[in-house]
Amino acid sequence: MKSTTARKLAAAVTAGALLAATGCSGDEPAGSATSAEKTLRAAFAGGGSSETLNYLTGPTALDFVRAKLVHAPLCELDPKAPDGVSYGVVEAITASDDLKTYTLRVRDGVKFTDGKALTSADVLYSLRAPMLLKGLPFTMLISRNFDMEAATAPDASTVVLPTKSPIADGREVICQTTLAIADKTTEFTTNTPSSGPFTIESFEPGQSTLLKRNDSYYGQAPELEKIELRSIPDGAARVNALRQGQVDFISAVGPAEAKTLETSDGIKVTNSDLPYASYLQYTMNIKAAPFDDPRVREAFRLAVDRERIVQNVYYGRAFVGNDVPALGFPSYNTTLAQRSHDPERAKQLLTEAGAAGIKVELTAGPELPGMVETATLIVEDLKAIGVQAALRELPAGQLFADYPAYLSWPFKAGYTPAAYFEINHTPGVFTDVDTLVLTARSAATEQERLAASHQAQKLLWEKGNQIAPVFVPTISAASDRVDGVRELQFPDLSRVTLRN
């Protein structure tokens, strides 16, 4: 009798397992056959429920990528263009001779999706919006440089911006992040009128955004009909989704994942080119020992083997840095000698400074691919010159969370997205550098400005407090059907073409 019981149980188990198996394998992998032909499915890291359509307050790369597809930029940074910027709904920007006033000319024939023409009032509002709508600090660059209270729109196609002090690089300031929004926009929904190449069909924070081509877009019409932006926070999950064909494009691929994806059939891996690479820096606090001594700072910079970081951390997908920012931008000082890896000289400098065998702790967190791994190699290099170096690794999201604490740490990792050196320079560390940057931004002739900028960079190279071993590009991977992704500061998908 007991044996029948056992048999019944075995049958029940088998039935259960079968049920589970059939229940699970009934459907095809999602997305493979259902996607429309001209729909690009692109996955980004996203930011959970904190994603927003308001680009002024959206902290993630996806928020900005999405916003830029929906709202046309006034203009964009373009180091190769004659003005340093390429124009959008603003078709020209001229500076007065005294560099105190900037005049923006609004392009004719640009329409919002509600049919209204885009005028100077909209452009002026777009420039003021960061202040009015409490934008994040990265959007505040304009109000730091221009007197927005005194800005005017004298006619429908002209905006006049007075500067707070004379600046020659006002174009870069205006074009770094500003997108065109309609006058008096206070909230951003799927129905907010926009002027970009796509409009929003649906938006679910932390999950997906469906974008549809805007046929009234003034610029080059996108070939794609739709773009589906997906949020996949985990890097490995993004790679899995691409491998299985659930998405066509993934952004923010780690260097190690890129290496494994390179060998996959039907997938190509690309990274952004200079100047679009983040400035990865390890900052030494000069307000306290041992870093108040320039010899210690130089020793630390000489100790680092940059080539090893490029090879071992980034598998070749990074650019060797020379301890000054903005590599690849026109004003970058290329006359400076590349800092060599010279542990012997470093040891000597430390001994001279009486700092042989000092103890330091380097704080880093996974805020940029390879930031922690690079820090690990730097700590090794420092140990090799006799420094008792240790790494303090913070969990994701912690590094900048307590900013006053971050500032007070003696030795810490950080990064700056690709951007011009002068307008993003934070004063307060070296007064002579600050003065030179001011000249570089405001001198009357271009030669004077460039000379000052180069001199400022030279000083930073000589006595600066940052080790910048590498510039880190963003790595993307895509199915080989995808072409035309522009790898700018963030990937631009507006000109993507999809082959069948």
Partner: protein, 320 residues
């Protein structure tokens, strides 16, 4: 009547636990270094800009005052708004809970089925070949990390035999539960990792029950087959039910690894994100919801066990 007063006591205790929990969570997010200002300002903000954000988020007010205001609102059912996006916390929780439950419910069903079937099978033949094989397998599963199980499933079902999607990408406008193929892998991963503990408890308890005089008596009285199995299992189920409810409660907020790997937009992931962003109202709302759900599941488990206990008292022998 006794049941009603017992229930009232338990619910009151649960409410008190939740209030204590909310204070502890608030305090914990408060002592973490940094706040939402730091996470939203970015590294290039000036001090004045930081101060302005702090004031606009209301973070310049004392912590005690903010907590009292929050709890006052929470009691009235208003969980407040996210510091970063201004979305209603209850709305975010609703979305995320739905996604979590879409995975947890099938996982729970699988856990119950696997635990009951395998636990009974092993327990009725304790020491047999079946029992030893199952013990080895379940100990292996219990000992494996969620990450390992999930990766193994991914290798099998998306690489070797590609029949299931690797990542849960819900089509825009749909909910996760409408797509069983997307739910399958994460649910199986949770079930494989979770059923072991409950199954082992049931096995031990069934094995013990079959060894009692009560079981002997039943067998001598000619109780056989399904009736015998039911008699043994129902008498042995109470401790396993406790185990089961603890496993299920743990899955609700503790499935972050599986949620992350399969991209399930669930409560666990949202909570870890909210903590990283120091979004205090969201952290509070999510942890309170998780706390309440956990207490409810445990209460339901105890209630079921108590009902089984009453059944047991009336069963012949009454062995406990």
């Amino acid at each position: 009547m006794r049941l009603a007063s017992w229930l009232t006591m338990r619910v009151a205790a649960a409410a008190a636990t939740l209030i204590v929990l909310s204070a502890v969570v608030f305090w914990a997010t408060e002592v973490l270094p940094g706040d939402a200002v730091g996470t939203s300002a970015g590294p290039d903000a000036t001090d004045a800009e930081r101060a302005a954000i702090r004031v606009s988020l209301g973070l310049d007010r004392p912590a005690g005052e903010r907590y009292l205001e929050w709890i006052g609102q929470a009691v009235q059912g208003n969980l407040g708004e996210s510091l970063l996006t201004g979305r209603k916390v209850s709305e975010v929780i609703g979305d995320r809970l739905l996604a979590s439950v879409a995975v947890l419910l099938p996982a729970a069903v699988m856990i119950v089925v696997l635990a009951v079937v395998l636990g009974s099978a092993a327990g009725l033949r304790a020491g047999g070949r079946w029992d030893r094989a199952l013990s080895a397998i379940t100990l292996g599963l219990v000992g494996s990390s969620d990450f390992l199980l999930a990766t193994g499933l991914l290798v099998v079902f998306t690489a070797w035999w590609p029949v299931l999607p690797a990542v849960a990408l819900v089509p825009a406008g749909d909910e996760l539960w409408q797509h069983p193929d997307l739910v399958a892998l994460p649910a199986i991963a949770l079930a494989l990792g979770g059923f072991g503990a409950a199954m082992r408890l049931l096995r031990a308890s069934v094995a013990q029950t079959t060894g009692t005089g009560f079981a002997e008596f039943a067998r001598l009285n000619g109780v056989r087959g399904v009736r015998y199995v039911w008699m043994m299992v129902s008498n042995a189920a109470a401790p396993a039910l406790h185990g089961l409810s603890i496993v299920l409660a743990g899955l609700l907020g503790g499935s972050i690894v599986v949620e992350t790997l399969f991209n399930v937009p669930g409560v666990g992931f949202e909570l870890s994100q909210a903590v990283a962003e120091r979004d205090v109202p969201l952290v509070q709302g999510l942890s309170l919801t998780l706390g309440a759900a956990t207490l409810a599941i445990l209460l339901a488990g105890d209630l079921c066990a108590a009902m089984l206990g009453r059944h047991q008292a009336s069963a012949p022998g009454g062995a406990r």
